[in-house]
Amino acid sequence: MSETKPMSEYLLLFRGKDWDEGLPQDELQRLLDEVIAWHDDLAKRGRIKAGQPLERRGKVVSGEKGRGVTDGPFVESKEGIGGYLILLAGSEEEAVAIAKSSPTLFYGTTVEVRPLLNECPCFVRARRKLTFASV
């Protein structure tokens, strides 16, 4: 790992149904080994800041004052998020390349790669508008 290259943080969201469905035991074993090796290699290279699986359940809070509380409707769907990683990468291309190397992609998961920000983009937009308005 190069010390001089500044690293940015990317959130990787793993979506999809459980990828073990219908897999024969030997293939499942091999794939699990691969996933662990993939993760350990990234961790050894100092690329993982955080990451965890999520339970396949939860709540969804919506509406005024958060009055609507329902059981998570999408946690078990194709769009449901099963886990996340906060990745350190030199560029978005590199973050995407790492996402592409995820062994579970072959089994139907989708990986969303999103740059982390320190400031909310809505806030930045609003401030820019206010600045222009006051000129």
């Binding site: 919506s62 996340y84 320190n118």
Partner: protein
């Protein structure tokens, strides 16, 4: 009852809630959002959180296809997250209900963080996992 804390992820959905609002209104909501975050951190109930850029990539399928969003101005897109340490799910939900974006259409997904990935857990329970693989390598921190 134990006093042990559990971890929850709040995922904020919606990157278009500011549409049609004046810059002053938006600034007020976001300021409240930051104040809410700072208070939760001070109380030790939140250890981190970030907004996400309204862009990015989606990698999918056997061909590992890379595509753009669409992440901007969408109701479904995740715009940010908080990481919570709470007593139980009820506390996580009550925190979620204080999100200043809710009145403007933001939806908050409240998800318990798992000790072990569901696939791995089933494999271990089903006797698929070989014993020589140390369990602690699976969970990342």
């Amino acid at each position: 009852m134990s006093t042990e804390k559990v971890d929850y992820l709040l995922l904020f959905r919606g990157t278009n809630w500011d549409k049609g609002m004046s810059p002053e209104q938006i600034q007020k909501v976001v300021t409240n959002w930051y104040a809410w975050f700072d208070r939760l951190k001070r109380e030790g109930r939140c250890s981190g959180g970030h907004p996400l850029q309204s862009s990015g990539k989606i990698v999918s399928g056997k061909g590992r296809t890379v595509s753009d969003g669409p992440f901007a101005e969408s109701k479904e897109t995740i715009g940010g997250y908080f990481y919570l340490h709470v007593a139980d799910e009820a506390e996580a939900v009550s925190i979620a209900q204080l999100c200043p974006g809710l009145d403007y259409g933001v939806v908050v997904e409240v998800r318990p963080v798992a000790e072990m990935c569901a696939v791995r857990e089933r494999a271990v329970n089903g006797g698929v996992m070989a014993k020589e693989i140390p369990l602690e390598t699976a969970g990342s921190r």
